[in-house]
C-alpha cells in the first residue's frame, strides 16, 4: 500500500518535473494571477518552489520554477537540458534567448558566463513584469530585454547586423505554438543571426504528429542536427550549428570541464551526451513547415 502510494507520488512528481512544454502540473497555491493580452500569467507556490505558469484552456503547466531553498537549482528538466547547448558552444560571447518565462535560464547563463552579453526577446510585457517581481530577474546592460514578437525582432536584428554565438528558442507554450516561429524561413532567419561558430538550441515537443515535419524543417535549415531527449522529460531539444557539429569526443571533454560548475544548478551535464542522438530518423519525404504551410498546431494534435 505505502509502496503504491510512494510510487504514485513519485510518478506525480516526475510528471510535475517534466512540465514546461509537455506535462501537466497544476499544483500549488496561486499567489499571483495577472491577465495579459496573450494569456493569464500565474505564479504558484508549493513549499519552497515558486512556479510561473500560463493558464491554458484544459489545465495549467509550468513554464519556469525556482526552489527558494536552492535558488540556483534548475527545477524543470527542460531548462537543465537547454544548458546542454554549452557543450556545442562552450564560450558564447553573445546569447539570444527567445521566450523569457521566469527568466531562470537567462539568469543561469548570466551567472555561468559572466562575460557574455545576453539579449532576451519576450512578446508579453506581463511575463517580464512577473519575472522581475517573483523570479529575481533583472534587466541590466548586459542582460537586455526586448518586448517584441521574435520574428520581428529577428528581422530587425539582422538588419542591424547583430550576431549571436548562441540562440535559445524557448517560445512554445504547452498548448499553443506560434506557428510563424516554426517555419523553415524563421529557422533560416535565425541561422542568419548566428556567428560563423553559432549554435541554436530549441526547446520543443517529443511526441506528436509534428515531430517529423519539424525534424525535416530543421534539417533543411541547418543540415544534420542533434536530437536531445531525456527520460525525465517529455521535451525534446534540437541542437544545430552553422559550422559542422562538434564531434562526440570534444563534447564529452567539454562536459567534464563543465561538470563542477553545473552542479549548483542540478545539471548532470556529463550524462547529457549519452542521449545526444546524432542520427535522428524521420520520414524524409515529409513536408517541411514553411511560411506557406505552417499548420503546426493542427499537426501536433494528430498523434
Amino acid at each position: 500500500m505505502s509502496a503504491i502510494r510512494r510510487h504514485g507520488t513519485t510518478a506525480a512528481a516526475l510528471l510535475c518535473l517534466a512540465a514546461g512544454v509537455a506535462a501537466t502540473c497544476a499544483h500549488g497555491q496561486v499567489i499571483h494571477r495577472e491577465p495579459s493580452l496573450y494569456q493569464t500569467v500565474l505564479v504558484t507556490e508549493r513549499g519552497a518552489t515558486v512556479c510561473l505558469q500560463f493558464e491554458a484552456r484544459s489545465d495549467v503547466r509550468n513554464q519556469s520554477c525556482v526552489d527558494r531553498r536552492r535558488p540556483r537549482r534548475l527545477v524543470l528538466p527542460y531548462t537543465r537540458m537547454l544548458l546542454g547547448s554549452l557543450l556545442l558552444m562552450p564560450d558564447p560571447e553573445t546569447i539570444l534567448v527567445v521566450g523569457l518565462g521566469g527568466g531562470v535560464l537567462p539568469n543561469a547563463f548570466a551567472e555561468l558566463l559572466p562575460d557574455a552579453r545576453i539579449d532576451v526577446v519576450e512578446i508579453d510585457p506581463v511575463v517580464v513584469a512577473v519575472a522581475e517581481r517573483f523570479f529575481d530577474f533583472r534587466a541590466t546592460d548586459r542582460m537586455r530585454v526586448f518586448v517584441s514578437d521574435a520574428r520581428v525582432f529577428t528581422r530587425r536584428a539582422r538588419g542591424r547586423e547583430t550576431r549571436y554565438d548562441l540562440v535559445v528558442l524557448d517560445a512554445f507554450g504547452s498548448e499553443y505554438i506560434p506557428e510563424h516561429l516554426m517555419t523553415l524561413e524563421y529557422f533560416r532567419e535565425t541561422r542568419g543571426l548566428l556567428t560563423e561558430r553559432g549554435v541554436v538550441a530549441a526547446n520543443t515537443f517529443q511526441d506528436s504528429g509534428l515531430r517529423d515535419h519539424e525534424s525535416e524543417t530543421w534539417y533543411q535549415a541547418f543540415g544534420p542536427f542533434i536530437d536531445f531527449t531525456r527520460d525525465v522529460s517529455l521535451n525534446r531539444i534540437v541542437l544545430a550549428s552553422v559550422a559542422p557539429l562538434a564531434d562526440p569526443s570534444t563534447v564529452a571533454r567539454r562536459a567534464r570541464t563543465w561538470r563542477r560548475r553545473m552542479e549548483p544548478y542540478g545539471v548532470s551535464i556529463v550524462d547529457f551526451p549519452k542521449t545526444f542522438d546524432r542520427n535522428p530518423r524521420w520520414d524524409r519525404t515529409i513536408e517541411a513547415l514553411t511560411d506557406q504551410y505552417a499548420p503546426a498546431n493542427l499537426l501536433r494534435s494528430r498523434r
Binding site: I123, D149, V152, H180, D291, Q292, Y293, A294
Partner: protein, 199 residues
Amino acid sequence: MFHARPIAVHAAAFGGGFVIMSLELLGGRVLAPWFGGSIHVWGSIITVFMVSLAAGYLIGGRLSLRRPSLDKLAGAFLCAAVLLYPLVHLAEPAMRWIFDAIEDPRYGSLAASLVLFAPPTVLLGMISPYAVRLLVRTAPESGRVAGTLYFVSTLGSAAGTLGTSFYFVLWFDVDTILTGLVATLAILAAVAFAGGRAR
C-alpha cells in the same frame, strides 16, 4: 418554377461572405512572417476589413441607384478577383518595403493590411447592398429580402472561416488557397453573369 436570378444573387452573397472571411484569416498568415503574431497584427487586419467593408457597403448602396444589373454585380466580382490576385505575387515585396519604411510593428501591420487587403475587400463589401437592390421589388418585402441575404452571406462567412482554419491551411499552401479564392471570385462572376441572362 426555377428562379435563376435569385439563386445567382444568393450564390453571389454566399460566395462573397466566404471569400471575405477566408481572406481575413489568411491575412494573419500573410503578415506573421513580417509583423509577427502579436495582438496588434490581428487588430490591424480586423480594422482594415471593417473599414473596407463599411466603405464597400456605402459605395455598393450608391451604385445600386444607377440601373442595377447582375452584369454589374458580375463586374464587381471580376474586379475583386483582379485586385486579390496580386496578393500572391506582390505581398512579399510590399511587406518588405513597409517593414523597412515603418519601424513600429503596429503601424507597419496596419499599413500592410491596408495595401494588401483593402482593395478586394471594398469590392466584396459592395455585394450585399447591391444584391438587396437586385432582389427587392416592393418596399414591404425589403426587410425579408435583406434578412435572407444577410443570412446567406453570413453563413458563407462562417463556412469560409471554418474551412480555412480547420482544413485549407492543413491541405494547401497559403498561395494555393489565395489562388483558389481568386478562382472562386471568377466563378461567382460567371454565375452572376449567367443569372442575368437566364429567363
